[in-house]
Symmetry: C2
Subunit: 253 residues, 2 copies
């Protein structure tokens, strides 16, 4: 039996509520039920005036609802509601595990659609004022994660990082020392500059500029929010500016 | 002398006007003057009800205004206007040449801010319903372009493409045969699946699924709009679905 409703996998963007797309905001206003990641901003959820709101994870594996159970809830909700929104931090199609939900919805003959969102690395680049690509310095960007999902085989994340001019590392702060050690052991310069941006686009945003060897020497201090590590030569000449920027943000907050 | 106004480098997103962010829409409504890329949607420009609108390129190098002249116009506009918007297709910080404008504005002591946008590869992935990353298949994504800017030295775009699980190739359709020949000569499988998505998110969107060897054999038929090439194993099992999706889109248009 074909479900009556449609499930929308919607990117909530990097954090700031006004970095949502117009399409996502409109869907939230019309939604009957919203299943959302734990870190979605309250003001974003508040747009869904008509909807029942259900938190379903995920936060670095803690307190997260099992993916299979989320899939089942989305399918069940589409039997009872016209507009079901699955709201994910950032963009659904980049480290968002959207494919597992898409495949489950397809297998159950539930209609679905996907609304893209601003991904963390692009938002952090805008905040820093440093472009990921730059003529003559960086002509390509790798988006990687060193994390391995439960039951997933190891993957060679370092190969892709080393081949790229600029690298955006997601879900990597907890393994920062391992990242630095691995990249340096495989030929990356200890002097390679990087920026860690925490809580990008929120009032609590912080950023710190380092060199790869610094990352090896010490754990990142007190980073508890979601963070992205941006790595590459584009961050070298701008390094003093980054520090100034981070201070300005702190003053403004 | 410090300019009175602020220049906002704003991502217009992939094409569909409702994939603009709320922040970008608000800035356009308040803008005094808008300098925009040639391909920005008319409905997006129409949001800027108060503003003088000036097209400044760029479309694959044709009819484009020289970057140095654009920089000068932005600086001049900030002397006369409070809110100057530089509206760019996609995201400013990924193949958007934003750094040249940022550096010019900084050098002239003009205040600036950057608003991120949905980049073409994320929008195309949403339209196709195929995630760039996927557990056990793709854990990283390279964003590359084979194009070389005027006066810029050659770069090894293929190395980054070959190291990544999934690859999003921007501004590559005109060199599709060269891309396929280069990647295959350096070890990529002729059987590697890919999807070309043209005019992503617009009513005129088209997509075609191929294997790398097919790309070598024939020029892409009749692609004149902006297009992104998505390459990687994630597209293999979904290949029949992609064809069905492309037909559905054509019927709906």
């Amino acid at each position: 039996m074909k479900a009556a409703g449609t499930v929308y996998l919607v990117g909530a963007g990097p954090g700031a509520p006004d970095l949502l797309t117009l399409r996502a905001a409109d869907l939230l206003r019309r939604a009957d039920i919203v299943f959302h990641d734990a870190l979605v901003h309250p003001d974003t959820l508040a747009l869904a005036v008509r909807a029942e709101k259900i938190a379903v994870g995920k936060r670095c594996g803690r307190h997260s609802t099992a993916q299979r159970f989320i899939n089942k809830r989305l399918i069940d909700a589409a039997q009872r509601h016209a507009i079901v929104v699955r709201l994910k931090g950032g963009d659904p199609m980049l480290f968002g595990r959207a494919q597992e939900e898409i495949d489950a919805l397809s297998a159950a003959s539930v209609s679905f659609d996907i609304v893209p969102g601003i991904t963390a690395a692009l938002a952090a680049s805008a905040e820093l004022g440093i472009s990921l690509t730059r003529r003559g310095v960086s002509r390509n960007v790798a988006f990687i994660t060193p994390r391995t999902g439960r039951g997933e085989k190891q993957h060679d994340w370092a190969r892709s990082a080393l081949a790229a001019d600029t690298c955006a590392i997601y879900m990597g702060v907890g393994e920062a020392q391992h990242i630095a050690a691995t990249l340096m052991a495989r030929g990356a310069s200890p002097d390679l500059p990087l920026v860690v941006v925490e809580n990008s686009t929120l009032a609590t945003q912080r950023s710190v500029a380092l060199r790869l060897a610094d990352l090896l020497a010490a754990a990142l201090p007190g980073i508890t929010g979601p963070a992205v590590i941006l790595l590459g030569e584009v961050y070298r000449r701008a390094l003093p500016e980054i520090v100034a920027f981070a201070e300005k943000r702190t003053d403004a907050a």
